[in-house]
């Protein structure tokens, strides 16, 4: 096993990019990451490209080859990846595995999405899926967890709304975030209901965006002072147990445990977390799976400020999906771009003081009350 490092990171603003194509967005992020890495593109010998909706909305296929050719990368293995919301982070895991096995010296990963198009509607887990046919939409799958969390642990509407208030406050300090305006608790609670009890600001907004990373094997980095080590990068899938427990999320807990085990670390070692806050309740349940607090205590953890910038364990200082926006396949890469910026000490107003270890956690799609894909990566400076 060779050590693997991130040596380059790039991201474009998460926004409505009406005039740009998916390729435009992707090429810009890739260009930034390669420039940031300081290496010449022809040394990058493998590429991983993630997009969820490119095929469906624009009829794209094998877009990765087009994107990477535009930044001077060709000839080696290039793979196009779709794993729902965890597509980008799944691509990072595949790159990590290839580098760590000595199959590649330098790899590029791009996650990109263009989804601000008319009539897209609420996302689901595939039109042929029985649950989609019976009316499941992604916000409902998390509303069902929220109802159960409130019922079992007394989690309150205010505690859930605090996740939006915190992440929107964080996003206001992130120049690439979709939302730059903070919201108040009252605004979150009084906003239109999407699916009970989740109001609109408790659901992440769709956005166009792209993020990119250049990864290098340990033998290739020489003495690059800005290189950030990947201590673990795991990819799992759901176990689809029946009866499924919607609040003690086995797949979430198992994935976090596996990453800690591989990194030889635990929750106490972390200085910051980027997690998959597609909906406010998701962030609360992920706190519990990550061991930041006991199961059932996630609502209280956010309400007491522990997960705010300046708190005991800041979560989603980038603004998370709720504040930064959620261009589906870009998200998993963007989370790692943020962790890298933090561990390099380059995050400016949103810098976590003295951050040495960060974790990025991402999840994708629903099946039988479970997630279909889950990734957890731990990085250190």
């Amino acid at each position: 096993m060779t050590d693997v490092y991130v040596i380059g990171a790039g991201i474009i603003p998460f926004a409505r990019h009406e005039a740009s194509s998916l390729t435009d967005l992707s090429v810009e992020a890739a260009y930034q990451a390669i420039k940031d890495s300081g290496i010449v593109p022809h040394r990058i010998d493998s590429g991983y490209f993630a997009s969820v909706l490119g095929g469906r909305l624009f009829g794209d296929s094998t877009l990765g080859q087009s994107v990477f050719a535009e930044v001077g990368i060709s000839g080696g293995p290039i793979v196009n990846i779709e794993n729902a919301c965890a597509s980008g982070s799944s691509a990072v895991c595949l790159a990590y595995n290839a580098l760590s096995a000595g199959q590649s010296d330098y790899a590029i990963v791009v996650g990109a999405e263009k989804m601000c198009v008319p009539g897209l509607g609420l996302l689901n887990s595939g039109e042929s899926d029985i649950e989609t046919k019976l009316g499941l939409v992604t916000p409902a799958s998390f509303a069902l967890r929220a109802q159960r969390h409130m019922y079992e642990f007394g989690t309150t509407l205010e505690q859930m709304a605090q996740v939006s208030v915190k992440n929107r406050r964080h996003a206001a300090a992130n120049p690439i975030a979709f939302f730059r305006q903070p919201v108040t608790l009252e605004e979150v609670l009084n906003a239109p209901m999407i699916t009970d009890p989740l109001t609109r600001p408790q659901c992440c907004p769709m956005a166009d965006g792209a993020a990119a990373l250049v990864l290098a094997s340990g033998s290739a980095i020489s003495n690059n002072k800005r290189a950030i080590k990947i201590n673990a990068a795991v990819l799992t899938s759901g176990s689809y147990q029946n009866p499924i427990d919607l609040v003690r999320w086995e797949t979430d807990q198992r994935s976090c445990r596996l990453a800690y085990e591989k990194a030889g670390m635990g929750p106490d070692d972390l200085d910051l977390v980027e997690c998959h806050d597609a909906f406010t309740i998701a962030e609360i349940i992920h706190y519990e799976a990550l061991g930041l607090c006991e199961v059932g205590e996630g609502g209280r953890l956010v309400a007491e400020g522990a997960t705010s910038l300046g708190g005991r364990i800041p979560v989603n200082v980038s603004g998370g999906l709720i504040g930064r926006g959620h261009p589906v396949a870009a998200t998993g890469v963007a989370q790692i771009v943020e962790v890298v910026a933090q561990l390099r000490g380059e995050a400016k107003e949103r810098q976590v003081d003295g951050a040495k270890v960060g974790l990025a956690h991402c999840m994708g799609a629903d099946r039988q009350g479970d997630a279909r894909s889950c990734t957890v990566a731990i990085l250190s400076s």
């Binding site: 509607g121 609420l122 689901n124 039109e127 029985i130 649950e131 989609t132 046919k133 019976l134 009316g135 499941l136 939409v137 916000p139 409902a140 509303a143 069902l144 967890r145 929220a146 109802q147 159960r148 019922y151 239109p192 209901m193 999407i194 699916t195 009970d196 009890p197 029946n242 009866p243 499924i244 919607l246 039988q368 009350g369």
Partner: protein
């Protein structure tokens, strides 16, 4: 509205019977002249003594053969929500979904809940299966969907 409940569980002859189910094999309707309501249908593996919904092609545990199984028509609500945003598939606005713990075998299944009772569901409430034309199949064709409704209808308890 107890009459409506009956109408739902024993579909009238005519249009309803001609409509296809949203997916084959997930429920059964009483034959003409039979009493009783619709039943949720799934699969069963004899070797593993395991029920599942929807029916698996092969048992997910042993890859052995599975047979069609009657999963009953009742259960209790494990969790529920009302979807108030623009609905997919021609479903009513608002509509409700949830997970139901089936009385017959303990399976926890995702289900549509009665759109006429959106504001009356509670965790732990007993529910019973019904079938009626509800929304379309994704290509704009109306279809039958199974859904669970409250065993004690709110209109009845208020009366």
């Amino acid at each position: 509205m107890p009459a409506r409940l009956k109408e739902n569980t024993a579909p009238e002859a005519g249009a309803t019977e001609l409509l296809p189910p949203v997916q084959e094999g997930i429920f059964s309707l009483p034959a003409a002249g039979e009493t009783g309501g619709p039943r949720l249908m799934g699969g069963y593996c004899r070797a593993c003594e395991r029920y599942h919904f929807p029916r698996e092609r092969h048992c997910h545990r042993c890859l052995g053969p599975v047979e069609a199984a009657d999963l009953g028509d009742s259960g209790v609500i494990y969790s529920f929500t009302a979807v108030r945003a623009k609905p997919p598939l021609g479903l009513p606005q608002p509509y409700a979904v949830g997970f139901v713990d089936l009385a017959a075998n303990g399976l926890r299944v995702f289900a549509l809940l009665d759109p006429d009772c959106v504001d009356h569901f509670k965790i732990g409430a007993p529910v019973i299966l019904a079938v009626k034309p509800l929304g379309h199949d994704g290509k704009g064709r109306p279809c039958l969907r199974p859904y669970f409704t409250l065993q004690q209808h709110p209109a009845e308890s208020e009366a």
